[in-house]
């Protein structure tokens, strides 16, 4: 009988397949034995790595493209391989010489007292390993289709390079449900489980249930049959749901519900059919602000936001201003050592305290607004004055851009409703152009329980009557006051909460792209 292991669900779905260990691709390599042969092998491996990266660059955008461009420039610089080549000339095998040369460079970056330069060590390691993989028989980091990727953690480039056409799954010993890769996995519907702790080393077959976070190592025949049966019925259910994907979401009564999507990276958009949704309900701009990386400048942000707006071709795109702090620290921006970060300097509290960072973002947003139907919302609003201050700052940025002769437009400014103070008295906040209920944080604050703590997770229930009463209140107030209301938390993608949300009077929901078909199918039943 196979052993069952419990982790945390990061992306739904079922998959059964052979494991492929991440980071184990650095196979043993026998040198060619001659310096000429080793020299040629290293040069070929570097050239191959440049080609790999060029292919990958075509598929990404924005910051990811800059990072890859930097890696290509490093690889194309003879100075990078020079110490390795001279070691090869004195008889060292290519892989040993290359590792030693790059380890020297990496150590130099790691020793920097500057966060930005220190973070480049990761790029150098990426470069080192890519060339080593190409040296050791050319087996690239691209995983065979249809495997379960197992490892400590996974780099976004690895996810992007993997061929998912025959399915697959991801099982991480560490990892995080909020990582960039978790977002990508949810968008593509790839099952993913994080925080496994341990898995048997030599398992040859792994069954992954992404929804429950359960992983079965080497299932026996009986277990495998049960899993395959679950897979088949899941596939059948998905097939039925799929028929709803491109149709408008409509209730039995014929009433239309707007279904929008939650996204982070621009890479996600490649796999989403625009006609399957009514726009983007939540774009999490904090994914441009990676911990340890430099703050993205106005140009980088503008280019990224513009991509989203142009992709949606006139459909609304709601971009949330920087929502860091709480469980999303960014070094140099978020305060260290807060006793209770969820009640501390996060969301709009932080951006108003860091006007320099906020202005750069607002300027980029105002410029992107020229290219389509952009709306902007601020997270963690607690008092009406925060809306006033954000609006004044936004107006000032637009005036500044006008004066500089740069095309800009002031988009509507709405707020997240996630702090109970707002949900209890929404009438105080009618300066907002729209409300977007963030059910995850609202639930956490109303029930005073964290969803990251397994011991109190049962209390963190969005269907608690106190939470649903607040959602109804906000929806009703919005309808009466003519303020559009939407909901963008995980609650919207759980069919079991759907009746509650529609009864509350909500007509607009924003969910992960992978949930669209299932949600529309469920709406048709109600």
């Amino acid at each position: 009988m196979g052993t069952s292991h419990q982790g945390t669900s990061a992306s739904d779905g079922l998959f059964l397949g052979p494991p492929r260990r991440l980071g184990s691709a650095l196979a043993e390599r026998q040198g060619t034995g001659s310096s000429e042969g080793e020299r040629a092998a290293l040069q070929d491996a570097i050239a191959l790595s440049v080609t790999d990266l060029a292919v990958l660059m075509d598929r990404v955008d924005g910051e990811a493209q800059d990072i890859l461009g930097f890696q290509v420039a490093m690889l194309e610089d003879d100075a990078l391989a020079a110490p390795a080549l001279s070691a090869i000339d004195s008889g060292t095998p290519a892989h040993v010489a290359w590792s030693a040369a790059l380890d020297g460079e990496i150590a130099g970056y790691e020793a920097s007292e500057d966060d930005y330069f220190r973070a480049r060590a990761a790029d150098l390691r990426d470069i080192r390993d890519r060339v080593l993989r190409n040296l050791s028989g050319g087996e690239s980091s691209r995983s065979p289709s249809g495997a379960v990727l197992v490892g400590e953690d996974i780099a976004p480039t690895t996810f992007l390079e993997t061929d998912w056409s025959a399915g697959g799954a991801i099982v991480l010993m560490r990892g995080s449900t909020t990582s960039h890769v978790a977002m990508l996995a949810r968008a593509r519907g790839i099952p993913m489980v994080v925080g496994m702790g341990k898995l048997p080393e030599h398992a040859v077959m792994i069954a992954v249930d992404g929804g429950s976070g359960t992983v079965l190592a080497d299932p026996d025949d009986l277990q495998r049959a049960a899993f395959n049966a679950a897979l088949a019925s899941d596939a059948q259910a998905r097939g039925l749901e799929e028929q709803f994907r491109l149709r408008p979401a409509t209730r039995r009564s014929g009433a239309r519900i707007d279904i929008l999507i939650n996204v982070a990276g621009v890479e996600e958009l490649d796999h989403i059919d625009l006609s399957s949704c009514d726009g983007i309900g939540l774009m999490r701009s904090e994914f441009l602000f990676r911990d340890g990386a430099p703050l993205p400048d106005e140009e980088t942000q503008y280019r990224a936001y513009r991509r989203f707006v142009e992709w949606a071709v006139g459909k609304p795109v709601t971009i949330r201003t920087l929502d860091i702090g709480g469980d999303k620290p960014v070094r140099g921006l978020t305060p260290d050592g807060e006793a209770n970060p969820f009640l501390g300097l996060r969301g709009v509290r932080l951006t108003l305290a860091r006007e320099d960072v906020f202005r750069t973002q607002l300027r980029a947003l105002a410029r992107a607004a020229v290219h389509g139907n952009l709306k902007v919302m601020v997270p963690m609003v607690t008092v009406p004055d925060e809306i006033t201050r954000c609006a004044a700052l936004f107006d000032a940025c637009v005036a500044e851009l006008d004066a500089q002769g740069i095309a800009a437009h002031r988009p509507p400014l709405g707020i997240m409703v996630e702090v109970p103070a707002v949900a209890v008295m929404p009438e105080l906040f009618d300066a907002a152009a729209f409300f977007s209920i963030g059910s995850n944080d609202l639930t956490q604050y109303v029930t005073a329980s964290s969803r990251d703590d397994a011991r109190v997770a049962a209390l963190n229930d969005p269907s608690h009557p106190a939470v649903t009463a607040l959602i109804s209140k906000v929806a009703q107030y919005g309808r009466g006051a003519g303020i559009p209301v939407s909901l963008c938390g995980d609650m919207a993608s759980e069919p079991r909460h759907l009746a509650t949300l529609l009864d509350a009077g909500l007509t607009s929901l924003s969910v992960a792209p992978a949930r669209i078909a299932r949600l529309k199918a469920a709406i048709a039943e109600l």
Binding site: D77, A79, E299, T360, R363
Partner: protein, 97 residues
């Protein structure tokens, strides 16, 4: 015919001479026939401005001064071009608010 030229400029870019500016600087430098070198102090050590590996390894930060020198037929044009690129904040419109 070989001329020499030199100059200096203060880096105003937000993070300093990081990855994207370094890529731009080395690409620009490669467009000149002259030997083009940069340094963090007037006394050196001087590094090849056409090598991104060497340029990045300087880890030049915001507000630090970049010294530039060149030898070759287009030395003055090369130094002027590098100084102009740094002054233009590497053509990144982000104005560091």
């Amino acid at each position: 015919m070989s001329e020499t030229a030199n100059g200096s400029v203060v880096i105003t870019h937000d993070v300093g001479l990081h990855a994207r500016p370094s890529v731009k600087l080395t690409k620009l430098a490669k467009g000149f026939a002259s030997t083009l070198e940069i340094a963090g102090t007037a006394e050196g050590p001087w590094v090849d401005a056409k090598s991104i590996v060497k340029v990045m390894a300087m880890k030049a930060k915001q507000h630090s001064t970049l010294f530039v020198r060149a030898t070759g037929a287009d030395a003055q044009a090369a130094v002027d071009a590098v100084i102009s690129l740094v002054r233009r904040d590497f053509d990144e419109a982000g104005d560091g608010h």
